[in-house]
Symmetry: C2
Subunit: 324 residues, 2 copies
Amino acid sequence: MENKAFIGIDLGGTNMRAALVNTSGSILEQIKVSTEISQGAEQATENLLEMCRRLMERAASGQLQVEAIGMGVAGKIDPQNNVVVFSPNLPAMDNFPLGVRMEEALRIPVTMENDANVYGLGENWVGSAQDLNNWVGLTLGTGVGGALIFNNRLWQGDKLGFSAEVGHLVVEPHGLPCTCGSQGCLETLSSGRALMEGVEEAVKKGKLVGGKLFELWQKDRLTAQEIYFCAKEGDSTSLELFRRMGWALGIAISNMFMLLGIRHAIIGGGVSASWDLFIDPLMKTLQTTNRFLNAEQMTVRQSLLGDDAALLGAARLAWDCQWG
Amino acid sequence: MENKAFIGIDLGGTNMRAALVNTSGSILEQIKVSTEISQGAEQATENLLEMCRRLMERAASGQLQVEAIGMGVAGKIDPQNNVVVFSPNLPAMDNFPLGVRMEEALRIPVTMENDANVYGLGENWVGSAQDLNNWVGLTLGTGVGGALIFNNRLWQGDKLGFSAEVGHLVVEPHGLPCTCGSQGCLETLSSGRALMEGVEEAVKKGKLVGGKLFELWQKDRLTAQEIYFCAKEGDSTSLELFRRMGWALGIAISNMFMLLGIRHAIIGGGVSASWDLFIDPLMKTLQTTNRFLNAEQMTVRQSLLGDDAALLGAARLAWDCQWG
């Protein structure tokens, strides 16, 4: 195996990154370019191919053979047909046979998956979950994504193009409307968007009329990170939003533990940086809701790999598909 | 395999049943006796052993060899140590090493599991799910139980002694108190007990002051079945309870489909006989909540095997543990 390597790709709406990864899970080289999806799917594919060719040359110069390519894409993927079904952040890619085109051009196997699923594979391989067999992953970003790892493998269910859609678990059936059309999904309570909308709501209701948070909102400079800083300075509106985030995560994780008979969760994604503000209400809710597990049996960990989880997981996906 | 057979046992609080099952999934003979748990765990074990010995003799007379025994028990089981952890209906069995004792006495392997889990194995083997690989099972009785079948096998998670605790999925976090100590569990809305308590509640609130349903309550003759009959006659309180049952099942099943990326559910248990009253609100909720699956992709089926599901599933459990 020493001379084998894989390419992992993280294809996002803004940037795309690709890495050459060896079988020990080390990134040997990585490239990042802007996706420029506005130039169309064909151009984006060309840019991807160019990155792959550069990494394949780099591999060859080090006596390494790139065996396969794995790709994490933000959106609904059809992994069996290697097609992007739809991607809100990559609209030009809808129904585009990205994987097929790349295989034809590069003549090595290409496998695609949802970006949250490859994050799960990355953490499982060389991240927070190396010692775990069964666990659920959550990614907190603009929305909430998820991954299920069962017996050390990515669970893909009936291969319908989605699984672990944790963000759309209904936590409060009579709750806030979600972008998916449903109500009270986890995403309406525990995402970056939920934080932003929570501030918006507070302003609308006249509960937030001054102070730093209000000013940020007024100047249209509000971000999840700014809300975090306000909370750290004691702002009560912001603190309540993080408390609600933790509560909803606690309900969702408790349900998943009871359903799956497992006891480990790992939380990643940009918004997980606000860990210190949501972990206490999360654990409290989890411990009071779940009567099947003792507090000390359950672990909720923070992701270790950050942005690299997706790159490493995509490479691992390629590996698993070759020697599954 | 033709000369091999298994014994499946369904151990309940009132009765215990045992069946001799061949490798085609046919019941060759079955015995039912009252459990008489009040006489203690030792006596109940003796009664179980007696049933097994009779079925083993019956097997031998037909040139069949009983390879192993599987047992479904209502309660929390430790399958790795063959111990009943606790069982509300079999209090004398708490922490009793039932499986160990039976193995010592009969000198063949004995495996135990939760009763809802063996129901799942039964339906998967020769019932409603023969054509499915991945599905979730729900049993509607006094409470609500569940089973997860992944890749045609029973999912046991981290082997913590529980999995698929569907009845304790939180559907309404600010809802009714559950026996488990939590609030708004599926069981508080979709079980036989929920129907009974719903009538009680209607009387308390002065919403039910006369009619057949009220009389049944007054005479302490209320059962889930009687509530069903009242609903069929158009009683609005009863109809609303079944509508609520279907709604809550729809939320829970939708969440499980989104989490697991699967699309099939099978509903069994005594209360599933009220199918015609809850299936419409169930399907409507499922279809409006779940944005990842089209209506025609999802199936919710009724259990086929009735009481025999647990016996056949217990036999199958024994088989799987031998040639897993």
